[in-house]
């Protein structure tokens, strides 16, 4: 078996994030069984990549990579459906695949309003704050490591992550009031 030296134990990370990942896939595909299949599929692909140690840059953020693969697998599966039974109108599909940052798969009909709100909220954050938050929430980095990586104090790292979350919470609150 490969020995990966890096802080990420992939299986461990996968298990930690699995429910999130299935929820994410589900928000695009709209079908829970298919979502679970996609997530498992994505996991094995990432393992395949790790085993061959290709493109180290990508593998430093395996969770982000998993989200990316899942997104692509979901879009592939939706494209297939379009060809098979015109289930999704062509216009909707191009909206899904446009990578403008404005339109996203999450805006597909059936996707949850909350996720759209949160995505926008994350986008509104200052770059460094969002980075700090993502490192904590998804990459599982400790605050001390985040502080070091972003060259800020421990207290600042903490308040950055907390304020990002606070902003997301407030955005969610505003939308549902």
């Amino acid at each position: 078996m490969n020995s990966i030296t890096g802080k990420h134990d992939l299986l461990q990370l996968f298990m930690l994030h699995r429910n999130d990942l299935v929820g994410y896939a589900n928000s695009i595909i709209g079908e829970r069984h298919a979502a679970e299949d996609v997530v498992q599929d994505a996991y094995f692909r990432v393992i395949g990549v790790e085993k061959r140690k290709q493109d180290r840059l990508v593998l430093e953020e395996p969770v982000g990579y998993l989200y990316q693969i899942i997104r692509n697998l979901c879009l592939d599966s939706l494209r297939k459906k379009t060809r098979e039974n015109s289930y999704i109108r062509k216009e909707d599909l191009s909206a899904l695949t446009a990578d403008t940052g404005q339109i996203s798969p999450e805006q597909h009909a059936g996707a949850r309003q909350e996720l759209i709100v949160l995505r926008m909220a994350l986008n509104e954050l200052p770059e460094k704050t969002r980075q700090a938050f993502e490192l904590h929430r998804f990459s599982g980095l400790k605050l001390a490591d985040i502080a070091r990586q972003l060259d800020v104090s421990l207290g600042t790292a903490h308040s950055m992550v907390a304020s990002a979350l606070e902003h997301c919470k407030e955005s969610l609150k505003k939308k549902t009031e």
């Binding site: 490969n2 692909r45 395949g48 990549v49 982000g64 919470k169 549902t176």
Partner: protein, 350 residues
């Protein structure tokens, strides 16, 4: 200048600290005092934990801007065929839990009003907290069951393995032998008879060898167990005292630590009853039983009091209905079930 963290005043500040240092008991106690000191704190906490959880489904924006070309390995098709062989989840679409993980907001506030008089010493921080992940130290196991139900896989030699949730195994079939390593979790083996090569299951330093039979290898927090439902099995503890036992149907052994082990005898149907969707226990500790139910539950169940964990239980529990099982356990033993969120349950003294 000291790099110190200030004492949190908001739920968002707390949740970050709690995730940062999940084993810090005094932090958790401080959090609890904060939580209980004001009803508004509880509301804040629920909003924040709900937001935290939902963000998991949004995913990192950073990761989603990776160039497509590096996202797919060159030998794309090799991966595809491999994942087909391992596609246990594809055959299991009927096993998937259809449980929706979202509840309407109103039921959240209902739960909030039910949280009264908590006697909790430890608290959970987020349902993505790891019981599984602290046990799993391995990459890329051959088979992983990450779903909340049992999964059955067919091995190339004709044997069948049923994996409990949160189980990962490695399989090596060769001319000389058939070897399975349980990296983490619980598995039941229905071994195809093959006199030419023994079927060996290894878990930690416990090795179980068999020619063709059916048996279970189980792990709880405090022990590794082997129990036989059919045929004869030889169980060896490697490295230590060289304990070697032969077990027949109904017989089992629990290995507790480096030295101790205990033999057991149970009706064959009770062994690995979880394969049928229920848990049948006979005089097991509450902590151990809840630990097993937890495996089949999509969240996390906590028991803060040590003496609660030590209580003995006997009974049958339907694994598809963990909430019901927990309430049953609670009512028998005068305990309180508190749902901090649908995925975080605390079992405590009343």
């Amino acid at each position: 200048m000291t790099d110190e963290l200030l004492i949190p005043t908001k739920a968002s500040e707390w949740i970050v600290l709690l995730h940062d240092d999940p084993d810090n008991l005094s932090l958790q106690r401080d959090f609890l005092s904060w939580l209980e000191s004001d009803v508004k704190h509880r509301e804040d906490w629920q909003n924040v934990s709900q937001t935290w959880r939902l963000l998991g489904e949004v995913g990192p924006l950073e990761g989603q801007s990776l160039p497509l070309s590096s996202a797919f390995p060159k030998s794309f098709d090799e991966d595809k065929s491999k994942s087909k062989k391992r596609g246990l989840d594809r055959t299991l679409s009927s096993f998937s839990s259809g449980k929706s993980s979202f509840l309407p907001k109103s039921s959240f506030t209902q739960r909030a009003s039910r949280i009264t008089g908590l006697l909790v010493l430890l608290l959970v921080i987020g349902f993505s907290l790891p019981q599984f992940s602290t046990r799993v130290k391995y990459l890329g196991a051959d088979f992983v069951n990450s779903k909340a139900r049992a999964a059955v896989i067919d091995l190339a030699d004709g044997s069948q393995v049923t994996l409990a949730p949160e189980t990962a195994i490695d399989v090596q079939l060769s001319q000389k032998e058939r070897r399975v390593t349980i990296l983490s979790g619980v598995a039941f083996f229905d071994v195809h008879k093959d006199k030419t090569r023994p079927f060996i299951v290894v878990k930690n330093d416990i090795q179980t060898t068999v020619l063709g039979t059916a048996f279970l290898v189980d792990e709880q927090q405090d022990r590794v167990s082997v129990a036989v439902t059919e045929g004869v099995v030889r169980v060896n503890r490697l490295k230590q005292d060289g304990v070697s036992l032969q077990l027949r149907p109904g017989e089992g052994v629990d290995f507790f630590n480096a030295r101790d082990y205990k033999l057991s005898n149970r009706p064959v149907d009770d062994i690995a009853s979880w394969r049928m969707g229920y848990l049948k226990v006979r005089d097991q500790s509450l902590g151990s039983v809840v630990g097993q139910i937890d495996r089949f539950f999509n969240g996390h169940i906590f028991i803060p009091d040590t003496d609660v964990r030590k209580k003995r239980l006997t009974g049958v529990f339907k694994l598809e209905q963990p909430h019901k099982s927990l309430r049953g356990i609670a009512s028998i033993h005068g305990l309180e079930v508190t749902e901090i969120s649908p995925w975080i349950i605390i079992l405590s003294k009343k």
